[in-house]
Symmetry: D2
């Protein structure tokens, strides 16, 4: 993020503000105010909250930081739509976001409109302000991140309704396939003293830097993501009943949940696999990448396949060396066997905005790539996504690796 100044100085925003903001609204087209208020678990927020929170981000970190900040739209929003920025003060309980019938969706949409007007005025007034451009860019990246979460969370909310409602007839999941490569096809990646991390020539989050050297042994990386068909073979081979395939905490997770398949999968009376999607309940596509598995499931599958998960350094190095590997981006986030920890020399940004990433660097594992739900322009080789190892509700899958 401290790299943003340079970039923005070179000539304004890399994104169209109005276009990014409009896409959030496009996502709720066809949904009711009731749909936008759903909260099915503490981890997943209501869509109305996402719409308000991303707006609050601009109001708090951009507008309120101006020399002559505009009047705060509604002081209560500061508490209600703060996600986790302790530096900003009191927050509303995460698990109770679904209890906010007030402000209404209509009021939140009006809040968005007012902030958009204020912000676009500021951008028009000070087109060369590179610090401003940095913060606005961060806000837009943040908005895009929440656009993916809106779909991820809505899918979970809807999955709890026995009516299994559909978001759209054409859902993002249907757009991707794991391709035709053999499950056993690997590409050899040379090792040595490599560099990973974001370059300074474009936007990146602070956690993607500093760019730094790592030593890698040569390795093999799967030519495509593991598919639903591959994963069915694992299940059929007793994958969920064999403790020797699982990490110890993973086996405990399996036992407690009596897990038998990825999240959202079910079998019909004829034992055919179906999956709940953003287009409702659908027959499972065996050629699509397996999705909604957690780290434990990914790791157990890899062990069963005589392989392993790549590290994040291996993944990033390969993504630059072999950018044509199928499904690196746009299919599923790919679990790595790297813990989410700071890179050597990492320094969080100063102030409340610095709470963005650093304080979450514990108890989470890194996912790389991007998914079918990731907005266009929000993918890059250095991007570090991260979730706890038990999380299933993200669009998360895996790609295998092996030692040479």
């Amino acid at each position: 993020m401290n790299r943003l100044a340079q970039q923005a100085a070179s000539g304004g925003l890399p994104f169209d503000y109005a276009q990014v903001r409009a896409r959030s609204l496009e996502l709720i087209r066809g949904l009711s105010a009731e749909d936008c208020q759903l909260q099915s678990m503490a981890d997943a927020s209501p869509l109305k909250w996402h719409l308000a929170h991303t707006t609050w981000f601009f109001e708090t970190f951009v507008l309120a930081a101006l020399p002559q900040p505009p009047k705060v739209i509604d002081p209560s929003y500061t508490v209600l739509f703060n996600s986790y920025y302790v530096g900003i003060g009191e927050r509303h309980l995460r698990a109770e976001r679904g209890l906010l019938s007030r402000p209404t969706l209509e009021e939140v949409l009006s809040y968005r409109k007012q902030i958009d007007q204020q912000l676009q005025q500021v951008l028009a007034d000070t087109p060369q302000d590179s610090a401003l451009a940095s913060l606005v860019t961060l806000g837009l990246q943040h908005e895009q991140q929440h656009q993916e979460l809106m779909l991820t969370d809505l899918k979970h909310h809807f999955s709890c309704n026995p009516l299994q409602p559909a978001w759209r007839a054409a859902a993002p999941e249907q757009a991707c396939a794991a391709g035709i490569a053999q499950a056993s096809a690997y590409r050899a990646i040379p090792g040595g003293l490599c560099e990973i991390g974001a370059y300074d020539d474009g936007f990146s989050y602070d956690n993607e830097g500093p760019r730094h050297r790592v030593w890698l042994e040569p390795f093999l990386l799967g030519e495509r993501n593991v598919s639903n068909g591959d994963f069915i073979a694992f299940i059929a081979d007793g994958g969920y009943q064999r403790p020797e395939l699982w990490l110890s905490d993973g086996w405990e997770w399996v036992s407690q949940r009596q897990a038998q398949a990825p999240l959202y999968w079910q079998q019909d009376a004829d034992q055919h696999w179906l999956a709940f999607t953003l287009a409702g309940l659908q027959p499972l596509n065996r050629d699509a990448p397996v999705c909604h598995i957690n780290l434990y499931e990914a790791d157990a599958y890899a062990r069963w396949a005589g392989a392993r998960l790549p590290t994040e350094a291996e993944w990033e190095h390969a993504a630059r060396a072999e950018p044509n590997l199928a499904g690196l981006f746009g299919e599923v986030w790919q679990w790595t066997n790297s813990a989410y920890l700071p890179y050597p020399g990492y320094q969080p940004a100063a102030g409340a905005v610095g709470e963005y990433n650093g304080k979450f660097m514990i108890n989470q594992m890194v996912l790389r790539g991007s998914s079918c739900a990731t907005p266009a322009g929000h993918s890059r080789p250095s991007y570090r996504n991260f979730f706890p190892p038990a999380a299933q509700w993200q669009f998360s899958g895996l790609r295998l690796a092996r030692n040479l």
Copy 2:
């Protein structure tokens, strides 16, 4: 309920169907679809669910029982809006009622309209059918019961929003006062071989009968309900810090919750008491009856006051003997020290409708009277309300009793 046949035979419904049903809609006037979807805890249902469930009751127990039942409006509603009737089949999880954005409020209102039309047609076609009248009457009493719950539950839902929204400017809580009698004023009630339970000359739930004999010693009953002012004295005297005043389970409840006052009470910066009401946050009225206390708090207060709670037989006997005792009805439900158990000779009705009351006869205590939120015409001396001893969110207070 088996008494209903006789009564209905004597000439139709004791209530106006359209009028009772309309009152449910009147309660949500001014609320948004988002408001009607709120569910703040498993015990409290969304208003939309109440509206649908009471309608489902008519569809399932009246219309579907006709010789030529109409087509079911939507088979999924049978699962979604069944509360606890195991005999009817699968149910949707109580704690997840707030996750039903579909059907929408609009669809539920349309469901109500269709069932109302069907039912009113049936009533018009068979005006002399006493079995039908019995079931419709039960359905209307059931609807009235849910009308009180709608207010009770909405109050809890709204209390979880930091904005503390108001339902109406004029709220039911404001309409009642505990009166002017001294806290220490008691009326002597003679004992002997008494009868309690519902007579057969009007509607009553099955749990109110059979009418039966009980032996009572003479006793004293408080002339009014305990007021907020009385309860403040208890708090000021360390009521919530003195274990000797509490039942053992009550003291554990106090300790775990760090309870210090009735639900919805808070103190402002000047230590003045405020209470969240259906009209929003309001200064506490010291003359109003104390409300939203559980059995433990009621019992501790009584012990502190050198008194005790009445039994339900004492309460009912007194309510018939001294019907002019202040606040028996329409202020707060009054905790008794009687467990909710079957009367001698009690038999639940046959079939699924018989699940109404009997199976809840454990782990609950009886409350008598009625509250400011009870619909007109839904109060009677034999009425047995019941909740677990820790429940606070009902409009529940207390009236003292003493031995002679």
Copy 3:
């Protein structure tokens, strides 16, 4: 208890102090210090704790109340061995009693010996002190109550060891049989205005009085307790799979525990029923009374059998009217459908000793009679035992009742 003075005044203790105390030691004969420290759940205390706590009771309520009390043996015991007497001060956490390796069993036995010497000296010095006799009698009754709990708790502790150890070759469970009467044999008991509660001519706990009038309708009471064979028929008929047989909370208990049989029952490879007993794992005796069932199981069985549980008033009235009914005492405690609540006019004793019973009068159901583990001389028609409806680890069974 306030009746004790009269009784003791009439000539000393109804029990032999040394004999009652010696029986507690007899119960641990053959057990190791490790056995005596086991605590398998918060509800069940280590045997070492029982031995110390009953001694603490004499030290605290008898010796410390003397005009010239002896020096306290060890001040730390006051905290460690106080069960729940808030009036006495700080207590050690119930669930952590099993973490007290110090004091050792040897030290506890020495504590017993010292208190016994002090107490017997006092009794010898003041043979005519009726207040003293009252308190000592209470202490001995208390000790006897804990003697039953020692066996009850040890059975639970041992049941958690996969080795399924035996306490003795001849266990109390083996001594009783439900008799030969038909399951369907009932005795008619006349009703009317009856009296229940303890007479003043012998020891009783405060909760057994005051003796008072109740009105009873005539009813039928089963001639014997329900047997294991009877209960097997209930299980075979799908008793644990049919929600319509259960109270609502009972069905939730069944579902959460996936309960399928009484506590301690298991089936061998040939589907023969075995039960863990104080003599280890044994074939189930079909003629013995069913034991270790909770209120929910008792109530479901009764409903399945077309019967009901008696109330405690019915039970006590019948036990006096028909004392020869089989198995009233000495087999299993018999669940009643009465909540444990104060009798009319009940007043707890003054001071800390008054915490004995009154504050537990909520959320518990009454059991009547006595069990195979109850010490001789500790049974009487007015005795009120009480446990929460889900408790199974007591020696609890049932006897059926029906309306006439």
Copy 4:
């Protein structure tokens, strides 16, 4: 471990079998059978269990693997004393180890004696069997690991007894001090392409290899461990009240536990710090290294001090480069900011013995060095200890690092 063959082939065991085994018994000298049965939480096992489990390890992995294995001492021990080796079959529940009064301590000691005799006979019979020597060495290392756990666990067990018992008058904690270096004294460590991991010339666990290259930037490492005095300054500066110092999960841990100081610390009436030790409650030694802190506390302290935790590669590299740095070994385990994950090329050993380490490689952080409770001869630069970030009951502290 696969390196063991070579080493053992070079001439027998690096440890004296009898001496290592005897030290386990020395640890329980002066303790009662009751002390040895305590289990204060699921993570901490009874000492009796440790004694039996380490013996079971020899019986199962050494004796039972012989061509002509001796008869199993007691088949039930196979279940009772298996810790987590799923490959070996059924296990007893970890949290219920404290419920095993049988076998008694005496029986466990006899079990040890029998296995020792069998094993020493085997060692005498086949002195040149390198595979045998490998397994026995692993068993002895395993025993030493449990010797540290015996002290760690006993400390926790005893801390739950209000009597605060002492294990010995002279406790291990008293033997070490953080030294006299300034808290701010750092040693510069050069970076570059380094190697870490165990060499093949002595015993190591499988998780310590393979030895492999890592790239390190030059850095500063604290000359001594952080002391109690240093940590008191952190507390005095509001360390436990300032969310900006904590990882997000760490702050949640602080809030839920209302943590205010390291485990076992308490303040007396004069606000002097005391600590519970294996010698009972003692005044806190400000010069001793801070101990019993978790990763969250270590990380927050480092942030407060303007420093950070070292990675495990940095620690190991420095420990070889600067072996005279104070307190690397024998004081406290030092938290690193490295997750416990496999080294490149890591392969678990085949068979059940391979469950030793690999399956725990998730949700844990690495600690390096060794503590005052670690047996002599059980420390080495490549040793990887690991615990979840919230664990406090180990002898864990920290050493600071900084970027150059």
